[in-house]
Subunit: 309 residues, 4 copies
């Protein structure tokens, strides 16, 4: 607890890029970084890191308005006619998607978490109203999230299919994975942390491992991420962080990473196919195109991140 | 009309990649193509080609279930408490997005249009039911849409801010733009066609130019796109194609490109900033990351395409 | 099975009120009937027969698009300002409801079930498209569903809190309840059948009894309802009918009552408070105001039925 | 203005029914009143006072999240199969309704408007959060809104089809209508005020008269409603009240009636058919069943009010 209080008081990027900054650690992604990222595309192989967006299915349980995706067809190929006539014996199909912005593969926006009524860069929590976030909304990142990605496959490092429920990934684990897997991470990189949880879903139908305490990053790792100037972090679990390690604090890592450091967090990412490939060719770095939908005032975004090797 | 009938009868990719193929012209994007695309990243500049996704705003009028996006906040920074307590004086904000899959910057899936009850590759229209598309759905493209992009700035070619309502872009126009702008397009490329329409929206608030007849591709251009083996085409209008040029046929280009050739079509793309940059540096080619959300059985997808130069 | 086949072939109201009729057995509710119903209001007591419509809660599991209600606040009393300024230091709150039309206390419209491609009164199933039902939609009943209501409290008749899972209520049970409870039912009445299921929900939070086989009406009772010219039937379970009694047929009672006879069916009704009152004063008849929302082309409707004694 | 300030300071029901009261003026509807109301049913004729709930149509323009209804079919009669198999060659149709709770024929809940941060009966505005209203929500009225209804047909009184835009209905107008139409209104009655606006919609397709200043009740009428102990008031316009009569105050009547007096307000009611009937038989009183959906924490409710004569 003393350790957390200390980190909370000392780790901070507030003001670092000016009082109006809403990009946070994404500032570390420079033009040079994007060029470097593109230079990692050697084989031309593309990996989708998103779970399917399927009507009525997914990891959410419905609490607090977080429902699984809803997919409504507004025109089908079975209807005798369509609302807008197309001529030429042609027809169209159409649909509507309802999705909890945080439900499924996503980024947390910097407005998603606050404490003591402040968000990243000292913006007040009250800037997020029923009309959306006027500060730190995800739309501010519309041309962001392209960089070098580095996978840290912690499950593989530890020789297991999946970490234990609630198991915390410590700073030493990250360093060991970096060493074992041969891809150093640093300024402007987007870090992908694999716990193995997504491999337990039986083709995205069984989410039981995401209901209880989850394995994930210990809050202490925020210090390393800060030192290394990481741009963003994503994982294959529900919270990025391990839960239950600090009595009275449900999201200590979020408080440090998202609020203090402005590090966007990606949750529910599908890393299985990519991890298998990295284990095969021994290359744990790649170009990552993980752009957000420009949802005005959004607290996050669904997305389909692509890793390109 | 005879010309259209002739093209409809002769232009086809059905069966070309086997009877089960659902990728269509995206088959032209090879691993080598992706490597080539990444090789176009020289300056490390990123351009978002999406219009904002803003609650209650956008190009749709509501007909046939096509509404503008709905953005609901399910937790704000103004609420005294939140549903899930986080401890540590922390709180969260959360939201829900409702979006017509075809409303805003999007891709048409290959299941979006059919004629004579058949979709691309001879799949029956009846494969698209109230439960979604079991064939040609957008989720099949989850790791696709990364390639070389080429911008054909037709408005700039013609020296106007925006083409006239209903003005058709002919094959000769495409060839002239290619020549004038110095970027040849060919196999596996994704073509971006600029009419200038998006520049008339006054910061995305005035959509009047998208209501009547629109400028866009003439159906005859499908032949050139086929010959050149283009992978996909997107434009800054509502339909990609010019409307009103073939009596009795509302979407002749869609019938040729989407149904016969399996060429995905992107609509409502924002090309203004990219076009200005291309005019400035004279480089009309770039890496394009335009991946779809993996919406199971979806007839299209919202997306945020990034052009990276 | 032979019994069912016989009933299916012989019980029918098709054509009885003309080839264009879409009211079905509601035709039995005459002006005189409504006057009679109003005459049953003696004590002026009103009972709501609806379960709460609560965001994220309810009997549905999400299969086939049947989700529990979604309740989104679009303006709260906590926001610093509201979108539309009201002056005078005033503010407003606002919200949006998403509801599966069949999820919660509802009526099945006559278009909700069909067999052999026909709905009530021989209308084709294909009249229900992605644009809604052009025949037998719930909006056709906009001024209906006010009549005499009669409660048949089968659980109380049998001296149990709740019937057994899958227990079928037979014709003799209805007759016995009618006799024991002293309220004869007949032409134009709306019948309310209590199984006791709703009493097991622990204040609408535990829906386990609604997941497996449920107690309800045996299909044979359709014959009595037809003879007595009942206008509509509602119950405190999910399907009105008992499930699992006719191999290969999941909804035999629906086929007879809804399709053949045009008898609307009400599901998920809350009858506990009303039943207690009826047991206390011995009066099992009342005025019932159970009007539908006029949802154009709807397959049913949420509603708040009131019994007034 | 002085008049308004005076009324705002003096008209109040706060505390009248105790500090926890959330029913407001509905307290005036007693059991005796309901019996009296039922006694008005003489001819057995039923009038629906709701406008249709039609997907994509209606009076709303989308501002502030107020969209027109959305109606999605999740199973149709055209689909080859359905998600849940029913056996016996049977099928089902299903749908989903998305509706702004205030969009269409509705009641304003007592939590819908506040000023100086207080709602009816001195509850704080902050009781309405993203999770809904914990005070003055519409679900508290689940067994309410059945009473004697009285129509005051002001348009007919003035001999016009529709009042002028912005025309204010004064206390004297109400008294004149009462006298001319022969139905005195008083304690516990629900008042229906007809401006004629709904008659201008050309079968609910043209809402232009609802966009600008509307005719409706002048704020001064709140005094008469209070004296007479009216239970609730509804009208055939968007706001019940006339707009634009008190500089700087957009909803002065709401402030008096809803906040100070706890009088629920009904908007977008369809009174044309009922008014014609009242003019014909000269009877302007009836039983009114205008119950709310029990939306937990809702700021209002869609409904289908029935007037029964």
């Amino acid at each position: 607890m003393a350790e957390f209080a200390d980190l909370l008081a000392t780790l901070s990027n507030w003001g670092k890029w000016g009082p109006d900054d809403e990009l946070g650690a994404l500032n570390y992604i420079t033009s040079e970084k994007r060029v470097e990222a593109a230079g990692l595309v050697h084989r031309g192989e593309s990996f989708s890191l998103a779970i399917p967006i399927t009507g009525g299915q997914g990891p959410q349980g419905g609490a607090g308005g977080r429902v699984n995706p809803m997919h409504f067809m507004t025109a089908t190929g079975c209807d005798p006619t369509t609302t807008v006539p197309l001529g030429g014996d042609a027809g169209y199909t159409d649909d509507f998607l309802g999705i909890a912005v945080q439900g499924g593969t996503q980024w947390d926006a910097l407005c998603h978490i606050f404490y003591a009524d402040r968000m990243y860069n000292d913006f007040p929590a009250s800037a997020v109203t029923s009309a959306g976030a006027s500060r730190n909304g995800i739309e501010k990142m519309h041309d962001q999230f392209v960089s070098r990605g580095v996978l840290l496959d912690i499950a593989r490092l530890k020789g297991v299919d999946c970490l234990e429920p609630g198991e915390a990934i410590m700073t030493d684990d990250l360093l060991a994975a970096e060493k074992a897997q041969g891809a150093q991470f640093g300024e402007g990189d987007i870090l992908l942390v694999r716990t193995g949880q997504m491999g337990t879903t039986k083709n995205f139908t069984d989410w039981s491992r995401f209901r209880g305490p989850e394995p994930g990053l210990h809050f202490e790792t925020a210090e390393l991420l800060h030192e290394r100037r990481v741009a963003a972090v994503a994982a294959d679990n529900m919270m990025v962080e391990a839960t239950g390690h600090l009595p009275g604090y449900y999201v200590p890592f979020h408080m440090l990473a998202l609020v203090n450091l402005g590090i966007h967090l990606g949750e529910f990412w599908f890393l299985e196919a990519l991890a298998d490939d990295c284990a095969t060719d021994g290359v744990y770095e790649f170009m990552l195109a993980a752009q957000a939908l420009p949802i005005t005032g959004g607290t996050g975004t669904p997305l389909n991140p692509l890793a390109i090797k």
